[in-house]
């Protein structure tokens, strides 16, 4: 399959957040300010790509030959968790502001189902190496796109007239629903 089409499909048509429901906790949590959501998006692209490469290699060169496919979940999450912790240590040393801004969301990337989801989808779709790389980057980019768009909406939402009981996450979810609806419009784009 064409790599460009794969990328477009992953970013728009099958947006990991709005169509596959993955990565919603950080989506609601970090998307209050545009600046933090940018940082989160960048971190997710970085971690997801790295994690995908590692997990893909481990799956095809270690687990499959040894007949240990059923250990996939266990190994993948261990790799992702270690990777995230590594990124955390690294950021703390070299980019204190980014570390401070992402705060406790760094460990939360571990539990960001988007990262794990991308790794699992790579295997499920039986991608080759380059397909896997493109798919990972573009899926994470789709996440970043959605979270940035959403943060921009929420910054405006913050001062708009919302019934008090709908404030916060409630209206955020409804807004996400509408965004998801509009992303459905992309579904005819790639075929």
């Amino acid at each position: 399959m064409d790599l460009v089409l794969l990328a477009i499909s992953a970013i728009f048509v099958n947006n990991i957040l709005l169509a596959q429901y993955l990565g919603n906790c950080p989506f609601c949590g970090v998307s209050k300010k545009l600046s933090t959501s940018l940082g989160m998006g960048a971190a997710v692209i970085f971690v997801a790509t790295l994690a995908s490469i590692f997990t893909w290699l481990v799956y095809y060169y270690l687990l499959e030959p040894l007949g240990l496919k059923y250990m996939q979940t266990l190994v993948f999450i261990l790799i992702i968790a270690s990777l995230v912790q590594f990124v955390e240590i690294f950021l703390k040393k070299f980019s204190k502001p980014l570390y401070n801004a992402l705060g406790i969301y760094l460990p939360l990337i571990t539990t960001n189902c988007a990262v794990m989801g991308i790794a699992l989808l790579n295997i499920k779709h039986e991608f080759g190496f380059w397909e896997m790389v493109v798919f990972s980057i573009s899926s994470a980019a789709g996440f970043t796109l959605a979270i940035i768009l959403f943060a921009s909406i929420r910054e405006r939402l913050f001062i708009s007239h919302v019934p008090s009981f709908m404030k916060g996450t409630a209206i955020a979810l409804v807004t996400a629903g509408i965004m998801s609806l509009s992303f459905m419009g992309f579904s005819g784009m790639v075929n």
Binding site: G29, V30, K32, K33, S35, T36, V58, L62, L63, L66, L68, M71, L74, V75, L78, I79, A81, S82, Q85, F86, I89, F90, K92, K93, F94, P97, Y99, N100, A101, L102, G103, I104, Y105, F158, I159, S160, H161, V162, S164, K167, G168
Partner: protein, 692 residues
């Protein structure tokens, strides 16, 4: 079976080794407390604190640039855990809640009519010309939208109403409000706050030395919320019972209603709520901050000392008062006679202050029984000198040493201590101040038949409270204006008369006061058996010399020299307040100074330096040319009940009574609820007529 175990262990081992090495290689020296504080924070990463995330907030907490209560999600529990961990004690932990600064309502038009020349430039130059309010609430409820906690509602008058139980003090509404009329305040900031030019300050509030929010407490009275009204007063003035009786009401002079009507009887209302509290028999509880562990010694227990003690105690400090006399109260007790301020009322009020946990040591004299060194050795961090102005000027005239010659304070004090056998049949009081009035009116009550006040200027120049002069006149005290004492006549060591010289007013001096000039050859004798000199007081600072050698700077008026903006003396840990700094003044001024020095001392002890008050309001803010109030019907002011003349003489019964609730309601409705530039046009329906 073995393969999976080996594979997994291998992956785990590689991960662990990698992490371990990374942790070593990329090791950052970090305060281990940051991680701990981060664990204590709830981790919502909401940004409500103003930092980018919980991690940066934790860092700020550890390096001390953020207060322990910064986290808006964690609430008090988290705050005290953090404070406890960082060893801050419980400093700074106090709920902060939002409060509006505009009372809104049916406001007067914001421009006022200038009735001078029909010329814009003239109007602009006169005061500040037509002015538009830049404070007022626009009323579209952006703050309601901004509040994530549902703590703000829009009231029927188009003003936000705050629910303190829901407010967490996150400050979103403050940031949302384009007019800056919402502030986040805690009890502590209420005490530490002083009026600023940027605030919307009603005229009365600007004039009150203690800066009591007068429209606010009158509003509470109107609504029947007497406890809230009293607590509003007590944010600024711990002695409402006293002030309700003796304060000459500088605020009423500024009352905007007085432009077209009689001013609101502000002090009667204050006295009403103060007496309401006393009648309830219980002191209303006032919030006290957590203990800071700092100790303050206060020398002197007059209004200044008591007020400083009260506010410092509420700020969480440990306070001890040292008093030279056997009872507390200073001039309030020994200078103000019973008929103006009954001693049992004073006792009750002082007890309320002491019940907050203030220690008292009586009958000790500064410089003799205890010294600054001793106080420091006992662990006091600061000392406040609030010793008042007890030394008296004396006339250097012939016969001043005769029996029957008293000084004013000495006379009142002796009477209070019940060491004065009797006043004479006929008494002459020299001087025109409040002390002279008090001495004269007290003599009358002690049985004197004839009392004369000798004053060398005219009635208009008398510095005594106008109300006092009127009361003295009512009580048939004779006034000998434009008379200067020349010598005191005596026989066998006892006073028989006072020789006076007539005066006339000459050219005004540079202060604008017309100096009296002696009319030569106008001597006459006023027969009397007692002469009371009440011609002025100054602080008694003998402790400054031997044996302590404090080396406090003094001014040429023998008052303590201190920084005007901080009340700190040249000895850094010694502060001063009240008459000993300003010279003799009003009780309410001493009370204000008590709070002012409390602010300085608080910052000095907790932060090491005293921040200046930005834009501190010192002069009256002229709203606009204001020569009429439109749309307001005139209504007569309420008058206090006054006991009849027969009852006054020969007894020390309190002259003025409290107004009743109905009158308080009536009077409170006369308040126009002013801001700087606005007032409420015919604001409050007078449902309750005075007659009914």
């Amino acid at each position: 079976m073995l393969t999976p175990i080996l594979v997994m262990s291998g992956v785990g081992t590689i991960a662990a080794v990698g992490l371990g090495i990374a942790a070593k290689v990329f090791h950052v020296d970090e305060d281990p407390r940051i991680q701990h504080v981060l664990d204590l924070l709830p981790g919502a990463n909401c940004g409500g604190c103003g930092y980018a995330g919980c991690a940066s907030c934790a860092e700020a907490l550890v390096d001390g640039s953020a207060p322990a209560n910064i986290c808006v999600v964690g609430g008090l529990e988290t705050a005290s855990e953090i404070a406890g961990y960082l060893g801050l004690g419980d400093v700074n932990i106090e709920p902060e809640i939002a409060a509006p600064d505009c009372s809104g309502g049916n406001r007067a038009s914001k421009k006022y009519i200038y009735s001078g020349f029909d010329d814009c430039r003239a109007a602009m130059q006169h005061y500040r010309g037509p002015v538009e309010c830049d404070h007022g609430c626009i009323g579209l409820g952006t703050c309601v939208q901004a509040c994530q906690f549902g703590a703000i509602k829009m009231g029927s008058e188009g003003l936000p109403i705050f629910n303190p139980e829901r407010c967490v003090g996150c400050g979103e509404c403050v940031r949302a409000c384009p007019k800056g009329i919402i502030s986040i305040i805690s009890e502590k900031t209420k005490i530490l706050h002083w009026n600023r030019y940027t605030e919307c300050l009603s005229p009365c509030r600007q004039k009150c030395p203690a800066q009591i929010n007068i429209p606010k407490y009158i509003r509470f009275i109107r609504e029947g919320k007497y406890a809230e009204a009293l607590l509003t007063i007590k944010e600024r003035n711990p002695l409402p019972l006293v002030c309700g009786r003796v304060c000459p009401e500088p605020c009423a002079l500024a009352c905007r209603r007085s432009i077209g009507d009689e001013p609101v009887a502000i002090n009667y209302l204050k006295r009403f709520v103060a007496d309401w509290e006393m009648a309830s028999g219980k002191h209303l509880p006032v919030p006290i901050s957590h203990s800071t562990g700092k100790k303050v010694a206060i020398v002197g227990s007059g209004p200044g000392g008591l007020s400083a003690a009260y506010f410092l105690r509420r700020l969480g400090h440990e306070v001890e008062i040292f008093e030279q006399k056997p009872e507390l109260g200073g001039m309030l007790r020994y200078g103000i006679p019973e008929y103006r301020l009954p001693k049992e009322i004073l006792d009750w009020e002082i007890q309320g202050i002491l019940d907050l946990g203030i220690k008292v040591t009586k009958n000790v004299e500064f410089g003799k029984d205890f010294t600054l060194e001793l106080l420091k050795a006992e662990g006091f961090d600061t000392v406040i000198l609030a010793v008042g102005a007890w030394a008296e000027h004396e006339l250097k005239i012939e016969g001043a040493d005769l029996e029957g010659v008293y000084s004013g304070i000495n006379f009142l004090e002796k009477f209070q201590e019940e060491t004065l056998p009797t006043a004479g049949k006929s008494v002459v009081v020299i001087g025109g101040g409040n002390t002279a009035m008090d001495a004269a009116r007290s003599s009358l009550r002690l049985g004197s038949k004839k009392v004369t006040i000798v004053y060398r200027r005219s009635r208009d120049e008398m510095p005594a409270n106008p109300a006092e002069i009127v009361a003295a006149e009512e009580e048939n005290i004779e006034f000998a204006f434009l008379n200067a004492p020349n010598r005191i006549l005596g026989e066998s060591g006892k006073v028989t008369g006072l020789e006076v010289l007539s005066m006339k007013l000459g050219e005004p001096d540079k202060d604008g006061r017309r100096r009296p000039v002696v009319i030569e050859g106008s001597e006459r004798v006023i027969e009397c058996d007692t002469v009371i000199q009440a011609i002025g007081q100054f602080p008694d600072l003998k402790f400054n010399n031997e044996p302590m050698n404090l080396a406090l700077k003094e001014t040429r008026w023998h008052t303590i020299d201190a920084e005007e903006d901080t009340l700190q003396t040249n000895v850094p840990e010694v502060f001063t307040a009240g008459d000993c700094f300003t010279g003799p003044g009003l009780a309410v001024e001493a009370i204000a100074a008590g709070r002012y020095v409390a602010r300085s001392v608080h910052y000095y002890m907790t932060e090491g330096e005293i921040p200046p008050i930005e834009g501190q309001q010192r002069d009256f803010i002229y709203g606009s040319l204001h020569d009429s109030i439109m749309g307001v019907n005139t209504t007569p002011k309420i008058h206090e009940s006054v006991i009849c003349l027969e009852d006054r003489l020969g007894t020390f019964k309190e002259v003025e009574g409290t107004i009743d609730e109905k009158d308080a309601q009536y009077e409170s409705k006369r308040c126009l609820d002013c801001g700087v530039f606005c007032y409420t046009k015919e604001p409050i329906e007078l449902k309750m007529e005075k007659a009914s």
